[in-house]
Symmetry: C2
DNA sequence: GTCAATCATCATGTATGCAAGATTATAGGA
DNA sequence: TCCTATAATCTTGCATACATGATGATTGAC
């Protein structure tokens, strides 16, 4: 076997969670996972512990690991934290972004525009993630960018659902335009303000969907 | 043995790192730790993995675990992240703090005042941590408060050193007073601004000490 | 028929064993 | 004497084994 197993397992499980193949609340049985990946329980456990530390998995002592299921309160608070992190990124990016950073942001913004025109939600979803990631990178602060990326991935399972909201894609794109405008003007405070609102509005609109998700996830948890 | 070993080990190791008993760069040998805590390598490994995920420990594949040693760049970036998180906490705390939150903040501020009067750096160090923690709690956002706490602990080994800077304690206290003033006025933007500056100035003054720390830590790494 | 208590089963948490890569020591040559 | 190559040792990473607490099934009582 080439390379070590644990990092590969962590990435595979994280991808399954972020992409929604593993749903919030779902049980993660060590033995089943060990069989599925054809390894012993040891590297599975180590991968689960890492995911738990990053918040993607919840480990209840003696009761097993579950895909993290954020309740309404935790979800609101997480979006608020995300809003503040994004605002910080916007403040710093406006001041520091290099021409390359700027090009990357504009390119992903163009990708978003194309997705809106094509009414392709999956593509918009992906390009939106790139747009935000480009802003993180433009801060020039790798520690901050890493934290921003981690939290974005944490909320990804919930964001995906959020795009089902009617007209949300157009509204999101309009907000992106305003954010880009502030960044290009070099107005850090304005960029921060607009990014914060952009994320917070997601969280708010999103609350309508929480109950539905909660029920769905709990049903999965009961069955699986 | 009552309860599980891993959480206890994680806490013990984290305390050793935060308190400075284990120094940045120091090697963490699994076998030695297992003997010291009288457990097998398994729970030691799991505790180290958790600490690595939170950033307190660095695990280099096949080469072992080390107490995280932040280079100059990572340190600057970490302080900048901390400044933004604290600013966010200040913004929200100013708007939302309850009378109990306010009492807790004022109480720890009084503790800081006493420590300054007594020129007791260790006490100031502890009360300062309480002051900041009280602001985190006053946001009413547990997720945000948790992140703030985690990052504060991450930087604690370096902060401790920082208090050696002459006159820093008095300056720090004066800044606290200005922060408290903004919070009591309910001016979130001002509190954010002052908290950001308060943390950033620590990071800046701190740079003078980095080289010394780096050398010291590397010497430890070579010996230990 | 419902509920409670006991017991069987199962999963987790920890210990131990083993293989492979990393580190260090040693021996040989320049 | 110094450098290099090789071998011994040590440590990590994973597999396996075992004990304890949790889960749920079955039996008995009401």
């Amino acid at each position: 076997m080439r390379g070590e197993a644990t990092p590969r397992l962590r990435e595979a499980l994280e991808d399954d969670i972020v992409s929604g193949r593993l749903k919030p609340g779902q049980r993660l049985d060590e033995v089943s996972l060990a069989e599925r990946f054809d390894v012993s329980r040891t590297p599975i456990r180590e991968a689960l512990i890492q995911l738990a530390a990053s918040g993607m998995v919840e480990i209840r002592p003696r009761r097993g690991a579950f895909v993290a299921l954020l309740g309404p309160r935790a979800l609101i608070e997480s979006f608020e934290l995300m809003a503040e992190i994004e605002a910080a990124c916007g403040r710093l990016a406006a001041r520091r972004m290099t021409p390359e950073d700027r090009a990357a942001i504009e390119q992903s913004h163009a990708g978003c525009a194309a997705a809106v025109a094509a009414e392709d939600r999956e593509t918009y979803y992906a390009e939106n993630a790139r747009f935000h990631a480009a802003i993180y990178a433009a801060t020039g602060n790798r520690v901050l960018a890493g934290e921003a990326q981690r939290h974005q991935r944490l909320l990804q399972p919930y964001r995906r659902l959020q795009l089902r909201v009617p007209r949300r894609m157009d509204a999101s794109f309009a907000e992106h335009e305003a954010i880009l405008d502030a960044l290009l003007k070099g107005d850090g405070d304005l960029a921060a303000e607009r990014l914060r609102a952009h994320v917070l509005v997601q969280g708010e609109r999103f609350l309508n969907l929480i109950t539905a998700l909660q029920d769905e996830a709990e049903a999965v948890a009961r069955v699986g």
